[in-house]
């Protein structure tokens, strides 16, 4: 069979194809996004869709499983918090067709607000957990998960991490299994979790776990690799790879199914070595099970103090290795005092390169205005979280998906009790608003809040790399879809009278709306509209230029934080004509009118409208 270099996420998608999956859903989130983007390559045989959030995506996959179809749902680690409700119910219900849940965790927080360890979810929801160590295993684990799911009547959680999702290694491609033919058959006692039914299901869940524990002991991917020294390393996921480099001579117990823990396999391994290092990212999950496995009196390797043959090996885990951030061969060796990580060159002495909003980003003018008007903003999750960084510095809080609107209301109400008020707005993107902003906005209206919510509608899920959403008019499979218009939804659907629409490039209009609406003692919504500039990657934009004779070095344009604008040695503004898209926002803020289009008749991003974007070619 052919071998290909695949990322872990591509391998998961390939695994879904080969395992006969016919339904896949997800909400995008780094590092999980590319799973569904690759599943859709098999759209002839797999229905693939974006859910509006992780909860809907999981429930849709569960529904598909009811019919006997094999279903997969993918999300980032914090997305599983949103989907936790159906996760726990799904465990009781089990799987008719396989139900595979992929959680892509982000140790080190490359693109996330926390580094929670989602292996805890498998334990809490009492379902099997698989943790691949490279792309080949990522593919293999989907196939194994389907088998486990259908044999044991259980959903299966696969934990990926940033490194397994986003590193590429060779994968052997296989044939697709023939998928089961879906058919809906009622099964009231199994799928209707009335308390009476749920009590019966819980008994089965506990029995299932015992059977799975025996299975884990014999699971061929929980495997021992012989070494030369009597040192043992127990590792899972990408930590196994780091371990092989840090301990080239050790015996390894590679655990691909950490839960239920292969207790007997571990005990045999422990009896063959003098000490054990446990390598895992974030929390001590394998370590806790390992220590417990050796603690049970009469069941572990016998304690010599009680007349047994072998002493327990010493276990080294999170007492030495860090709980925080990613593991690596360097981290392992430094933790053991075997490598000095003091850098030869001190990188703290050079300027950092923080990410920033793009040149021509339709969010810039809003944050510029918030900053100038000193309006405190509640942020949310998306590109626009970058509005928190200098020089825009216009975001005070950022919590989780949708929390901009709800935290805004909480602040407003708590202050009102003491007859206080602050000038504040919530800032949320279109996809995040669909995901979990709508419910918060209903709370604002229902509880008679008077805060202002700004919805940045760039007609795409931008941060994760341009996924379609209910407002973009297309599905994941590339089909036309009804476009949900946020202005109509809020004004006509929720009946919010003070709903306004403004162009993201119109500095003055945004300024006036913010001024007026933050003073209003009724709730209001400002929809700032304009498509993401990166939707037009192929466009040859005609730029703006600074007339240095007119520039007074006031640096107002630098407060936009536009990556195309810098200043020369005399403090005069300079525009990088390659990066500039011709949005014209800087020309609007320039007091001495020193910035103008190089070619008035050229193609400028400012002349593109939402309508031309929606109706035409998006390149």
């Amino acid at each position: 069979m052919a071998k290909e270099l695949l990322s872990g996420n591509e391998a998961i998608a390939r695994g879904a194809y080969e395992a006969g999956v016919t339904f896949a859903s997800a909400y995008p989130g780094t590092p999980s996004t590319e799973i569904l983007e690759n599943v859709v390559r098999y759209k002839e045989v797999i229905h693939a869709q974006w859910g509006v959030n992780e909860k809907t995506a999981m429930e849709e996959a569960l529904g598909a499983s009811f019919t006997g179809a094999r279903a997969l749902v993918a999300m980032k680690h914090v997305g599983l918090n949103v989907a936790a409700d159906p996760l726990f119910s799904a465990s009781y219900i089990g799987a008719t067709g396989a139900l595979i849940i992929i959680s892509a965790d982000d140790p080190g927080m490359h693109s996330s607000q926390n580094e929670q360890d989602n292996r805890h979810y498998a334990i809490a929801a009492k379902m099997p957990l698989l943790e691949p160590a490279d792309s080949q295993e990522a593919k293999d684990m989907v196939i194994e998960a389907v088998r486990i799911s259908e044999s044991f009547d259980t959903p299966v959680l696969i934990r990926m991490t940033t490194r397994t999702s986003h590193s590429r290694s060779a994968v052997e491609l296989g044939e697709r299994q023939v998928p089961p033919v879906p058919e809906y058959k009622s099964d009231f006692f199994k799928r209707n979790l009335l308390p009476g039914n749920a009590r019966r299901r819980h008994v089965l869940v506990e029995e299932r776990l015992k059977k799975l524990a025996a299975f884990s002991d014999g699971f061929k991917y929980n495997t021992v690799i012989k070494g030369k020294k009597r040192i043992g390393v127990v590792a899972s996921g990408v930590s196994y790879q780091y371990g092989r480099e840090a301990f080239p001579d050790a015996h390894f117990l590679k655990i691909t199914m950490p839960y239920p823990f292969p207790v007997n396999l571990f005990r045999q391994f422990a009896a063959s070595v003098d000490m054990i290092y446990i390598l895992e990212e974030n929390d001590p999950i394998i370590e806790t099970f390992a220590r417990l496995a050796l603690m049970v009196p009469g069941e572990g390797p016998e304690d010599p103090r009680r007349g047994g043959a072998a002493p327990h090996p010493k276990i080294i885990g999170k007492d030495v290795f860090p709980l925080l951030g990613e593991m690596s061969q360097d981290v392992i060796q430094a933790s053991l005092g075997l490598k000095d990580l003091t850098p030869r060159f001190d990188c703290e002495t050079i300027p950092k390169r923080p990410p920033s909003l793009c040149a021509g980003c339709p969010h810039t003018a809003l944050f510029y205005n918030l900053n100038l008007q000193k309006i405190n903003s509640r942020g949310d999750i998306g590109c626009y979280t970058l509005g928190a960084l200098p020089p825009l510095s216009a975001m005070d809080t950022c919590i989780d998906m949708g929390a901009s609107i709800t935290s805004l209301l909480g602040i407003e109400k708590a202050l009102a009790k003491a007859d206080k008020t602050i000038k504040q707005v919530a800032v949320i993107g279109d996809s995040t608003f669909f995901h979990s902003g709508i419910t918060g906005l209903i709370d604002v209206i229902y509880n008679k809040g008077h805060s202002t919510v700004v919805i940045l509608d760039n007609s795409i899920t931008a941060m994760t790399g341009h996924q379609e959403n209910p407002g973009s008019g297309k599905t994941l499979m590339g089909e036309d879809a009804p476009r949900i218009d946020i202005v109509k939804l809020v004004r006509d659907g929720l009946g919010l009278e003070h709903t306004y629409e403004v162009d993201g490039y119109d500095v003055k209009a945004i300024k006036e709306l913010l001024k007026r609406e933050t003073l209003r003692s009724e709730p209001s919504v400002i929809v700032v509209r304009r498509p993401c500039i990166l939707l037009y990657r192929k466009a040859k934009w005609s730029p703006l230029r600074v007339d240095s004779g007119k520039c007074t070095s006031c640096k107002l344009c630098l407060r936009l934080g536009c990556p195309a604008i810098s200043s020369d040695a005399d403090g005069k503004a300079l525009i990088n004509e390659t990066l500039c898209s011709g949005c014209g926002v800087c020309a609007q803020v320039c007091a001495p009118k020193a910035i103008a289009f190089v070619d008035e008749k050229g193609l400028h991003s400012s002349t593109i409208t939402l309508e031309t974007y929606l109706s035409g070619d998006r390149s």
Partner: protein
């Protein structure tokens, strides 16, 4: 063969991931086991980007250890300096002679470091600077700078030149094939 490591760094949008994909393809064609890592998401919005490629008979970690990288291919000078600690003392540092001001510099809050080349020479086994951005503009497309840099890397590695040419042919759309082959040639033949 002992596992070797290559680190590619630069600024989001410079074509770093395409370059590391191309490199991985070539190493796979050359018969090595290959692992590649990259990070997506927030850092790609004008932030610094790193991709690493490791190859050999049996490769475990997709990430190189600090001070043990054999080659660094830097698409921007400041990013070369930022990642120099990964390079081994004998390692080869190949740098695009191109400065891209990060936002703290562009907005006048900080200064772009001077004498980067001098500092790199103190820390690397060998340093080669190539005006890849300028050469790409001369070839008619600034975006081809990544393939010029790949050409320079190829000149320092012992892998059959034809494998690189084959991999480029497979990777790029037909209408850009000629441009990219010229770009590869320009980097491969470059003499400082």
């Amino acid at each position: 063969m002992k596992t070797k490591s290559i680190l590619i760094c630069g600024v989001g949008g410079q074509g770093i991931l395409t370059a590391s994909d191309l490199l991985s393809d070539v190493l796979l064609l050359a018969g090595f086991q290959v692992k590649k890592s990259e990070v997506h998401g927030m850092s790609q919005r004008g932030g610094d980007v790193i991709s690493t490629v490791r190859y050999g008979d049996e490769v475990f970690s997709p990430l190189p250890a600090l001070g043990e990288t054999d080659y660094i291919l830097a698409f921007e000078k400041l990013e070369a300096l930022r990642n120099v600690n990964y390079l081994s003392k004998k390692g080869i540092m190949l740098v695009n002679d191109f400065e891209w001001q990060p936002l703290p510099v562009a907005s006048g809050r900080e200064k772009y470091p001077q004498l980067i080349e001098t500092q790199l020479k103190k820390l690397a086994g060998k340093v080669v600077l190539i005006p890849a951005t300028r050469l790409a503009i001369e070839l008619g497309n600034e975006k081809a700078s990544n393939v010029i840099l790949i050409g320079l890397l190829a000149a320092h590695m012992e892998i059959d030149q034809q494998l690189w040419i084959d991999a480029i042919g497979k990777k790029v759309p037909p209408r850009f094939k000629e441009l990219n082959l010229k770009a590869f040639e320009a980097g491969f033949r470059f003499r400082p």
